[in-house]
């Protein structure tokens, strides 16, 4: 397991992201709820650079009490990273595709130490398509 210092704690404001290569692996680092969350920059749909996409709030729609559609709106809390290749959307907190649990981002361990964010990359990780 190799650790890489990838950001100072204050580099990312709440809701921001950074994408970088560390140890030959492409990683997206997100700050949400004050926490740092990291995912491999590889979309499980078709291998796209998912973390280099844009962040959107989750779109939801619920039926009203009488069954009438209440219309679409944005979720107050959930935000998704959207793969720029095909639009696959993943909850940034869970890494799970919003429409199917079969598609999940690969996690990268993060730790805060001495005011800096580090990521830990397993030695056996496949340094494939940069992702």
């Amino acid at each position: 397991m190799a650790e890489y210092r990838v950001a100072r704690e204050g580099d990312l404001a709440e809701g921001e992201k950074r994408v970088f290569v560390a140890g030959g692996v492409e990683i997206g680092l997100f700050r949400l709820d004050g926490r740092f969350i990291a995912w491999r920059n590889a979309c499980p749909h078709q291998g796209g650079p998912v973390c280099q996409g844009r962040i959107f709030r989750r779109v939801i729609a619920e039926a009203g009490e009488t069954g009438r559609p209440a219309g679409r709106r944005y979720h107050e809390r959930d935000v998704n990273i959207v793969c720029p290749w095909h639009g696959a959307e993943f909850d940034i907190r869970t890494g799970v595709h919003v429409g199917s649990g079969l598609l999940r981002l690969a996690p990268v361990a993060t730790l805060l130490r001495d005011g800096a964010v580090h990521v830990a990359i397993a030695d056996e990780v496949e340094h494939g398509d940069g992702a």
Partner: protein
């Protein structure tokens, strides 16, 4: 002051991202697995001809129509491209900015070769493609034009512009000439004029139209295409004014059905009316409908044919046999949700000889060559065939390397 962080930053992708960076993961996949050294043929990619429309109308042969088009573009700022039909205000395939390459490509292009040549070569380099067959975008609707003479004029102008610009720009860029199919004698004239061009590797019927493909008015056209040795292609599309699809409220639903329905109708008529028997050497290529529709239609037509063979007396075999042996298919957008279903589909359509990989780049549902390469049930020989070999045979193409460092 802190030491610089030992990392390389990667920028967010947007409409200004260079195609080669946008598709960098695809390029690395090809290099890692070694298929960048194969001859890949992408038989369906697109350029956005509406951006170049002011140039294209210069190729209209009718001098009066040409002057009208030029005056229109000179004096009406912000107007849609002259003469084109389609739903220019309904094109939100980029899903609200989520898929930037579908919205626009504003990447930097240095003065020199035409922008569309540069962008096509960049896509070829990134996808490790040696040959890329380039189709138009807005003109996929042109078969719905209420004035058949406009389909003829604009289709012919486009063909001439493609030859002068795209095909002259790179030996790996290929096209299938646009057929103004609503006017059969003019479609025949296109075949007669362009059949000898080495980079016009076939002829396109845009499938979004209401002409029956088995009409005897097309028999001279089909004979001429058959004699050219080049295939006829049916390129799928959608249309919001199609009454059979009018209840669909989303592009998701429209795209799922529209791009399949038109080719299902044409294929049904093509087979049941005996075109493969009337023109035994005519090869047909069915483009951009995905693959899942083919096993459905094979089973459906076989089932009905066995009960009513007197209604299809031209057929000497089952409809599915014509579809598997006499028709070729592009792969994109390949439905990959059920691996067992996909493997059976490959078996039913004889993919090792009949299937041609296509990217559809830069559209929102493009496929990289990796979607074929990564299939666990294919041999390397089958992968090579589907990614290029089958297209090389169909179009008569020699081996070639993709453009870029160390390439063509």
């Amino acid at each position: 002051m802190d030491a610089p962080l030992p990392i390389e930053a990667l920028a967010e992708i947007g409409v200004e991202t260079d195609t080669r960076l946008y598709l960098d993961h695809a390029r690395r996949h090809a290099r890692r697995h070694g298929y960048d050294r194969w001859t890949l043929v992408d038989i369906d990619a697109h350029h956005v001809e509406s951006i170049s429309w002011k140039e294209i109308v210069d190729f209209i042969e009718d001098p009066v129509l040409r002057d009208q088009a030029k005056a229109y573009h000179a004096e009406r700022v912000g107007a849609p491209p002259y003469g084109l039909v389609g739903d220019f205000g309904l094109r939100y395939q980029d899903c609200g900015g989520r898929i930037p390459h579908q919205a626009d490509r504003r990447e930097r292009v240095e003065p020199g070769p035409h922008r569309d040549v540069v962008l096509t070569r960049r896509a070829m380099e990134a996808l490790a493609v040696a040959y890329m067959v380039v189709f138009p975008t807005s003109m996929l609707f042109l078969g719905m034009h209420p004035q058949p003479q406009m389909e003829v004029a604009l289709g012919r102008a486009y063909n001439r512009w493609v030859e002068a610009t795209l095909l002259a720009g790179d030996a790996g860029i290929l096209a299938l000439a646009y057929l103004p199919f609503n006017t059969p004698e003019e479609a025949l004239r296109v075949v007669e004029e362009s059949a000898a061009h080495p980079r016009v590797v076939g002829f396109t019927v845009t499938s979004t139209r209401y002409k029956p493909v088995h009409d005897r008015a097309y028999w001279r056209l089909y004979r001429a295409i058959e004699e050219s040795g080049k295939p006829i292609c049916f390129h799928a599309g959608y249309h919001w004014q199609d009454p059979s699809l009018a209840t669909i409220p989303t592009f998701l639903g429209m795209h799922a059905l529209g791009f399949v329905w038109c080719n299902m109708v044409h294929m049904t008529n093509w087979i049941l009316e005996g075109i493969p028997e009337r023109f035994p050497r005519l090869r047909s290529l069915w483009v951009e409908s995905g693959l899942a529709w083919i096993p459905f239609l094979m089973q459906r037509l076989d089932d009905q044919f066995l009960m009513r063979p007197s209604e299809a007396p031209m057929l000497k075999r089952l409809p599915s046999e014509y579809m598997a042996e006499r028709c070729w298919y592009s792969s994109q957008p390949m439905e990959r949700g059920n691996p067992k279903a996909l493997a059976l589909t490959f078996e039913m359509i004889r993919a090792e000889s009949q299937l041609l990989w296509s990217s559809d780049w830069p559209h929102f549902d493009f496929d990289t060559p990796g979607v074929i390469y990564d299939l666990p049930f294919l041999s390397e020989a089958a992968k090579r065939a589907i990614l290029g070999g089958n297209a090389q045979r169909l179009f008569g193409l020699p081996d070639r390397r993709p453009p870029g460092p160390g390439g063509a």
